[in-house]
């Protein structure tokens, strides 16, 4: 799509401009910092941790928190803090990957379908609505059960399949209204091709909006991911936040009051979701400056 160096430079300058806006917008900045912080710390600690998250029996089981094991150990003899850091990294990776896949496919479908219209668009539209009404978790459970042991990439794809529809519907309706706008007409008159118009005129004017939906998709993918893992469906032999919660449930950690075990993953998950939501609120303010100062 980028035909010449000059358009690459345009793109770079617009990205820089975007970064400047992000710095000015406190909500986005704070949200991004929290998320990046959680990821980097977890990644770093999981690299230097003396314990292994999966190997059982390396340490004594069921230890309460201590200096050696800040969050104690689980009934299978593993360090909980190590599990937590490994789990955070994996959960975030799966959620982010699922988000990217779902986002890219919904954007492509919505843009191409919405701009060119015709039968292709009708089919896309119908499928979007079908996927919207079906309760995704029921199907996810079915899929996960059928696939059985899933690896991380497959888990991401499965999650993506059930996270794209809503975004696709919204992108498409945005496209339908944007393509009637004057600047699209003008670009046509200036001899621009369809792909050129989508890439240079329509997508740029949707940027904050796209950001909101990316955050939303990642957030809902992670939510579904942890939910599936909680009930025992998901990647095996790796640890993620949802899988920790699954073990907690298995060993009745909630009713035995093992706060050190089940609470930390819950807190991390909620922090991630709230941060993503704050980011999207900030993006919303960029998109509709009217909202700013209202709250």
């Amino acid at each position: 799509m980028l035909k010449s160096l000059s358009s690459t430079r345009d793109l770079l300058s617009s990205i820089l401009r975007g970064l400047k806006v992000i710095r000015q917008e406190r909500k986005i900045f704070v949200g991004l910092c929290i998320i990046a912080g959680i990821y980097l710390v977890s990644q770093l600690v999981s690299l230097i941790s003396p314990y292994h998250p999966m190997t059982m029996g390396n340490v004594a089981p069921n230890l309460p928190p201590s200096w050696k094991h800040p969050l104690g150990t689980d009934p299978m003899g593993r360090d909980i803090l190590t599990q937590l850091f490994f789990g955070t990294v994996l959960s975030m990776q799966i959620g982010f990957m699922a988000g990217v896949i779902a986002f890219a496919s919904s954007l492509t479908l919505a843009m191409i379908g919405g701009y060119y219209g015709g039968y292709g668009d009708s089919i896309i539209n119908v499928f979007t609505e079908v996927f919207l009404t079906i309760p995704s978790l029921a199907v996810l459970i079915l899929v996960a059960a059928v696939v059985g042991k899933v690896e991380v990439p497959i888990m991401s794809v499965i999650l993506a399949i059930f996270s794209w529809a809503w975004a696709c519907k919204v992108f498409r309706s945005q496209m339908l209204s944007l393509k009637e706008r004057g600047f699209v007409k003008l670009a046509k008159l200036s001899g621009e091709s369809g792909i050129g118009i989508i890439a240079k005129e329509i997508i740029p004017s949707m940027l904050p909006f796209l950001g909101i939906w990316f955050a939303f998709i990642v957030s809902s993918a992670m939510m579904a991911e942890a939910g599936l893992e909680l009930i025992g469906l998901g990647p095996q032999h790796r640890v993620s936040l949802g899988i920790i919660l699954n073990w907690c449930m298995h060993f009745n950690a909630f009713t035995r009051g093992l706060v050190n075990w089940w609470l930390p993953p819950c807190i991390i998950l909620i922090t991630l979701f709230v941060s993503l939501f704050i980011i999207s609120m900030g993006l919303d303010e960029i998109g509709n400056p009217r909202l700013k100062g209202r709250r």
């Binding site: 617009s14 008159l189 200036s190 004017s205």
Partner: protein
């Protein structure tokens, strides 16, 4: 001689929904007109909202396909052209729009809107030539390139934005310019400047201009001919001055009389009749579309659509009074 741009019996019908009883609205009905290569005139296309003038613009610019009839460019139907030929059509038929703010993408600097046609129509060989072209174009509409090229649309005033749009047309040098309500969003005290540029552009670059508007008094200053539409059909067309002085069609008479002259001593005389037809019921009218508001209606007006007949040279009217 082949007309450069011609519309032949152009009709555009839009579906209105309803699966069992599908409803349609005829936005434009049997519209024909042509611009000759050496005309270099300004023709006004006038009508109220719902008269179909926006649809005509969209069809002529190739944004929508007419339901019946055809649009010919240099004698060739534009919808039967190859893809590559579209660009040459775009190069020769350009437009400026009502709301320059809507027409400029807020994401891009002014630079973008001028460079895009230069690149796509290959108007310049090098980057520096392109910048030179853009600067010249901006100069010709009274803007300074250093002032505006690096600005975003919201940093310019309404008048400046419309000037940028005119500079863009100057740059492309088309044969035909469609001006769709170019001054209606601009302050009264500044309108004249834009009209002057439109006139200058048209005269100096040998363009023909189709000036689309609902405001006859602005159009009157710069136009030679006029076509008056009502609910998708031409009511009267011909020399602007003679129609203003001596309108024939009852609708055109009411219209001209209702236009305010800025003089409190020349106030409206008498009263107009107001009656509203719902758009959906419009399709059931078989006779003249103005019939139910017409003070001179005859029995035949409700039964038969009047044809567009030539009264004298350069004057056509669609009314049973003159059949």
């Amino acid at each position: 001689m082949v007309a450069i741009l011609e519309a032949k019996n152009m009709t555009k019908v839009f579906p209105l929904g309803g699966l069992m009883h599908k409803k349609y609205v005829t936005a434009v009905e049997n519209f024909s007109f042509q611009i000759q290569e050496d005309d270099r005139k300004v023709i006004t296309l006038a009508g109220e909202s719902g008269s179909g003038k926006t649809t005509i613009v969209n069809v002529l610019l190739g944004f929508i396909k007419p339901t019946y009839g055809e649009v010919l460019f240099q004698g060739k139907n534009i919808w039967k052209r190859k893809r590559s030929e579209w660009r040459s059509y775009r190069k020769e038929v350009q437009a400026i729009f009502q709301d320059p703010y809507e027409t400029l993408n807020p994401f891009h600097k002014i630079n973008h809107v001028l460079m895009q046609p230069i690149k796509n129509f290959k108007l310049a060989k090098s980057k520096s030539e392109a910048v030179k072209l853009a600067s010249e174009a901006l100069y010709s509409v009274g803007l300074d390139a250093n002032d505006v090229l690096d600005k975003y649309p919201h940093q310019l005033s309404g008048g400046q934005r419309q000037r940028v749009m005119l500079a863009r047309v100057f740059l492309i040098q088309p044969k035909i310019m469609l001006a769709d309500e170019p001054v209606s969003m601009i302050d009264v005290s500044l309108r004249a400047d834009i009209l002057k540029i439109v006139q200058k552009l048209q005269k100096e670059n040998n363009m023909s201009c189709l000036y689309i508007t609902h405001d006859l008094s602005n159009a009157y200053c710069i136009s030679d001919e006029i076509i008056i539409l009502y609910l998708g059909s031409v009511m009267e067309q011909g020399d602007f001055e003679s129609i203003v002085k001596n309108p024939e069609h009852p609708y055109v008479k009411t219209l001209i009389q209702s236009i305010s002259i800025p003089n409190p001593r020349a106030r409206w005389k008498g009263k107009v009749r107001l009656q509203d037809i719902e758009i959906a019921r419009l399709e059931t009218i078989v006779g003249c579309k103005f019939c139910n508001r017409c003070l001179e209606a005859m029995p035949i007006c409700g039964q038969k659509r009047p044809p567009l007949i030539e009264l004298e040279k350069d004057r056509k009217v669609a009314c049973h009074l003159y059949v």
